[in-house]
Amino acid sequence: MTFQTSVSRKHRWHVLPLLLNNAGLIASFIFLVLVASVTISPDLLSSYDPIAADPIQAQLPPTYEHWFGTDHLGRDVFSRVLHGARYSLLIGVSAMLIAVVVGSLLGLLSGLARGFVDEIITRFLDVVSAFPDLLLALVLISFTGPGTFNLIFALGVASIPRFARVVRGQTFVVAESGYVEQAKTFGLSRTTLIWRHILPHAIEQVPILATIGLGTAIISAAGLSFLGMGPQPPTPEWGAMLSEGRNYLRNAWWIGVWPGLAITLTVISVSVVGRRWQAAFEGRRLV
């Protein structure tokens, strides 16, 4: 404690450089908080209905009335982008959750069982990784058909291998480490050993990887929606909005620009936070 105060006293007058050095991180964080609050209540910032069409107002350029303009059916693009945050983020987050839970369990099982089971699981993951994520998701969707839940399922399954690999490797290391050996000598049961002592350390890095992976998942989700595999019109999902906007590019650029900007800014923020977290975890400074 004394050490802490002495450090902070020494650096009291250096707040500004600290802020400047972390400007990216702070901006990302603020943006993510903004996106999160919009996800919870999109009506806070916009009073227009994101779905009801109003053909008289179609394809109006951005004005004070409609900040982002209106689309080909006269819907307010700003309001649709705000409401779209809910779909795009929830699809990404849910897919990552599936991948994290199943991947971690598979990795733990593989790392603990070793031998034959490990060999089978590793080989299986190798084969699954031979298909690019997006294509694997497409194959799964061709069985289930398009739709929001099918998209989440497909993306989640396609991202399982990377989490399983990391957790498997970590499980190997942790299970061999001194404190687990020590815990064994206390006569702890295998269940306690695994759930209380091995698992928490084996999955230490998973939240960080999931944060970084979330950016990729949001892009893939938007890409698949763009192809028409996700939420169907008139749902205001960012990828689906871009696919509509693509057709009106000649007369109304704003329909196809704002949703993409929303995706890009969200993914940048998520990556900045994730990478900084990873750097802090590994104890190195990010330049």
Partner: protein, 333 residues
């Protein structure tokens, strides 16, 4: 497209350095072993696609005809083609045999042979992905060589790379289309007629891959610039650019090559989306139509085909390692 984040570089599935350091066989048995494991992965991929048809809920005939109703003739044709009246193991062997002979069956939605369909659409996609790969490599090498170890250029390049990696390729495509095709009218809006129609799609597909690779390449270059040999080369009076291009790039390229090989699969599936944005013909269009029409024979064939490309590429990347780094060739005793 999953131009994956560099965070996952540490767990590349194949050809990671640790595997290479571990080998103790001669060069040829190493090559053979690598090819062998590639064949095993391919066999498993084919088996997986066969199994997926069996596991999927619903009648296999209904699965194969897609989103249309099977007429009795079509049903009889499918039964004969897949040998559905025979035991499962015979069906499986038959399937393997057919695929081994390059026969991916028949699409009942499109009324044509899948193999000839894929081959006819292969060329535009191949053109697009190779052009994108060239864009990626040129971008990565230029950005890394010019900015490695220099404080402010490096920061600027990192920021640009972060933006490029985070931009969905299809949105980049839409923006490029708006600026260069609709506003400046420099490039055609859609189609695949000449070279100029390839420029924008290749840029939108290749830049984010280039950004990922350039991050890794720069890291490698900076490590190489710290090595003692870099000091030696400098003492010869070589210019900084010569040092970077002729001496350090080779060292730095090892991890970047692995990453590129690994991400080219992502490039192929990214092409699916890019082709849609730019209205180009190709495998991507075929795939999207097949997925939406539940045309499983086509989807599975595309999947197996891309697994084949992945296996071939990752094998080549592993062999490229031996070519790039002579130390790996002599360590085999």
């Amino acid at each position: 497209m999953t131009l994956d984040n560099p965070a996952f570089i540490d767990e590349l599935p194949l050809g990671s350095p640790s595997r290479i350091v571990r080998f103790r066989h001669s060069l040829w048995s190493r090559v053979l072993g690598r090819v062998g494991s590639g064949v095993v992965v391919l066999w498993a991929a084919v088996t997986l696609s066969f199994a997926s048809l069996q596991i999927a809920p619903g009648n296999i005939v209904n699965l194969l005809v897609g989103d249309q109703l099977p007429t009795p003739e079509v049903e009889a044709a499918i039964r004969a083609e897949w040998g559905l009246d025979e035991p499962l193991i015979v069906q499986y062997l038959r399937y393997l045999w057919r695929i081994l002979h390059g026969d991916f069956g028949r699409s009942y939605v499109l009324q044509s042979d899948v193999t000839s369909l894929i081959l006819s659409q292969l060329w535009p996609t191949l053109k697009l992905t190779s052009a994108a790969l060239v864009v990626a490599i040129v971008f990565a090498v230029t950005a890394a060589v010019l900015t490695a170890g220099r404080r402010w250029p490096r920061r600027l390049a990192s920021a640009a790379e972060l933006v490029l990696v985070s931009t969905p390729s299809f949105w980049l495509g839409i923006v490029l289309l708006f600026v260069f095709s609709f506003t400046l009218k420099l490039f055609p809006v859609a189609g695949d007629k000449n070279f100029s129609s390839l420029v924008l799609p290749a840029l939108s597909l290749g830049l984010s891959l280039g950004a990922v690779v350039s991050q890794v390449l720069r890291q490698g270059l900076e490590n190489a610039l710290e090595e003692p040999f870099a000091l030696t080369v400098r003492s010869w009076g070589c210019s900084d650019l010569t040092l970077r291009l002729r001496h350090c790039l080779r060292h730095a390229s090892l991890p970047a090559v692995t990453l590129t090989g690994w991400l080219v699969g992502g490039l192929l599936s990214g092409a699916v989306i890019t082709e849609q944005v730019f209205g180009r013909p190709g495998l991507g269009k075929v795939t999207v139509d097949a997925v939406l029409g539940k045309d499983l024979p086509v989807v599975l064939a595309v999947a197996i085909f891309s697994a084949l490309i992945y296996v071939v590429l990752s094998t080549l990347v592993d062999l490229l390692y031996l070519f790039l780094d002579p130390r790996l060739r002599t360590r085999n005793r």
